[in-house]
């Protein structure tokens, strides 16, 4: 419940960033824009990993329910991997943009894009840390199951981060190329 409300509160934080992006999306800016500087395909593929990770953490919770600790560890590991891959993808994209001298201070697109994806990436990283802690605990044989608040909370948070990305992705990438 706590996490539920926390997530709700968090979503307003992102809502504002997204509104800021939307607000400037219409305005014609000189210099780079979403259309001419982003690659929806590549990012889309990386996004799939994030979506998948949402599924795997669900599996993790499931396997905890039927006290299958090996699978729990396994699925947690997979989730972390997928998350990491996504972050890696983001890293590549940022590096590419910065090489093209598209930075946060270049123009409004840069500003909004980097802030939005940056804050999301930050949340993903936090999620990864929490997941790793879970994994560690799991390895030390905590979580007797069938129920664990820790696992549930983290997975709610993870689903949230995932959901935010779906919105962000559709706003930044899909909308631009619609």
């Amino acid at each position: 419940m706590m996490v539920g409300f926390f997530v709700a509160s968090e979503s307003f934080f992102f809502l504002m960033l997204i509104l800021a992006y939307v607000n400037f999306h219409g305005s014609q800016v000189d210099g780079p824009t979403a259309v001419n500087s982003l690659n929806p395909i590549v990012t889309g593929i990386f996004s799939l990993f994030l979506l998948a990770s949402s599924f795997t953490i669900w599996l993790a919770g499931k396997s905890l329910k039927n006290k299958n600790h090996r699978m729990l560890k396994f699925w947690l590991l997979v989730t972390i991997l997928f998350g990491a891959i996504f972050i890696f993808g983001q890293g590549i994209e940022w590096a590419g943009l910065i090489e093209k001298n598209i930075t946060i201070s270049r123009n409004v697109f840069g500003t909004t894009f980097f802030s939005l994806t940056g804050f999301h990436g930050f949340h993903v990283c936090v999620g990864l840390i929490m997941l790793s802690i879970l994994l560690g605990l799991a390895l030390f044989g905590d979580f007797k199951g069938p129920k664990s608040d820790a696992v549930e909370c983290v997975s709610i948070y993870w689903h949230f981060v995932d959901g935010v990305w779906i919105v962000v992705f559709s706003v930044i990438y899909l909308w631009a190329f619609l």
């Binding site: 509104l19 607000n23 219409g26």
Partner: protein
């Protein structure tokens, strides 16, 4: 000022185009089907709820055949939005409130219907349908297409009514046990309100000409100069009115609804949890204290 412009417009428009009462057959069909279905369901017995229901149907008819429809389709985004609010929020609510409990109960007892309503009546699904219909139908690209294409246009309007009913179901379902708890439904409505508020805000503060179809429409009825010059409804103003119509009246409806649920909640009697929780014996000793 919005209000003023609208008020005046309605009048002068009615003078201007008494001809534009667009009476498409499908509307009548839909309305008749509804009334017939209602009659069958209630066994053609007249009661208070019948009035509510038929008011709903009548408002629906009016909002679809009246100049409001014509304007909303060819000239003004704001008019479209007003109609949208009517069809998506007001009409379905009235229809839903009009349906008597017994009939619904019967209907729900029929396996498939019951199952379907269980699925659709699920708050989350209903919420996403309700808010979704706001967002999806107002994606500029889609909306512009809809205005050109008759079938889509009809589909849109019917969908408003149906989705509207699904949306209200968790709050005002005729059958008690299908409703959300009052606080839950307040959250449900508040979040829905937020959902369309955001869209309203975006439309209101977006640069003018979001919906290209309305920027310079084909002036088939020759009232464009009147609208633009005498009433000063430039595309920008029009879009603002539209956005704010979706936002403010929309939200006020949600607000009233949640107020009503809360009021009902307070009115309903309070169960004495105490005996349930801690041992009755202790309370018996609380002795002189007796409940009437």
């Amino acid at each position: 000022m919005g209000v003023f412009i609208k008020g005046e417009k309605e009048m002068s428009i009615i003078q201007l185009l008494t001809s534009s009462w667009t009476l498409e057959p499908w509307v009548l069909v839909f309305a008749l089907v509804l009334m017939a279905g209602y009659g069958l369901a209630t066994g053609f017995r007249f009661r208070g709820k019948t009035v509510i229901f038929s008011t709903g149907v009548i408002i629906m008819l009016l909002s679809v055949v009246s100049p409001l429809d014509y304007l909303g389709r060819h000239y003004l985004f704001s008019a479209h939005m007003a109609q949208h609010i009517l069809l998506l929020l007001i009409v379905p609510l009235l229809l839903l409130l009009g349906i008597p409990e017994s009939a619904t109960q019967k209907a729900l007892n029929i396996k498939p219907i019951g199952a379907v309503m269980k699925a659709l009546g699920n708050p989350i699904i209903a919420w996403f349908l309700g808010v979704g219909s706001m967002w999806v139908w107002h994606m500029p690209s889609l909306h512009n297409v809809v205005l050109q294409n008759d079938d889509l246009y009809i589909a849109q309007q019917i969908s408003f009514v149906i989705i509207g009913m699904i949306f209200w179901w968790p709050v005002f379902a005729p059958v008690e046990d299908r409703r959300l708890s009052p606080l839950a439904s307040t959250l449900y409505l508040a979040s829905a309100c937020l959902g369309c508020t955001i869209l309203g805000i975006i439309i209101t503060f977006a640069s003018a000409g979001l919906y290209s179809a309305y920027v310079n429409p084909a002036d088939t009825a020759g009232i464009l100069p009147y609208l633009r010059n005498d009433l000063c409804i430039t595309p920008g103003v029009d879009q603002q009115i539209g956005g704010l119509t979706m936002w403010v009246p929309g939200c006020l409806i949600y607000l009233t609804a949640s107020m009503i649920t809360i009021a009902k909640w307070y009115a309903s009697p309070e169960a004495d949890e105490l005996t349930a929780h801690s041992g009755g014996s202790v309370l018996a000793e609380a002795g002189s204290y007796k409940r009437k």
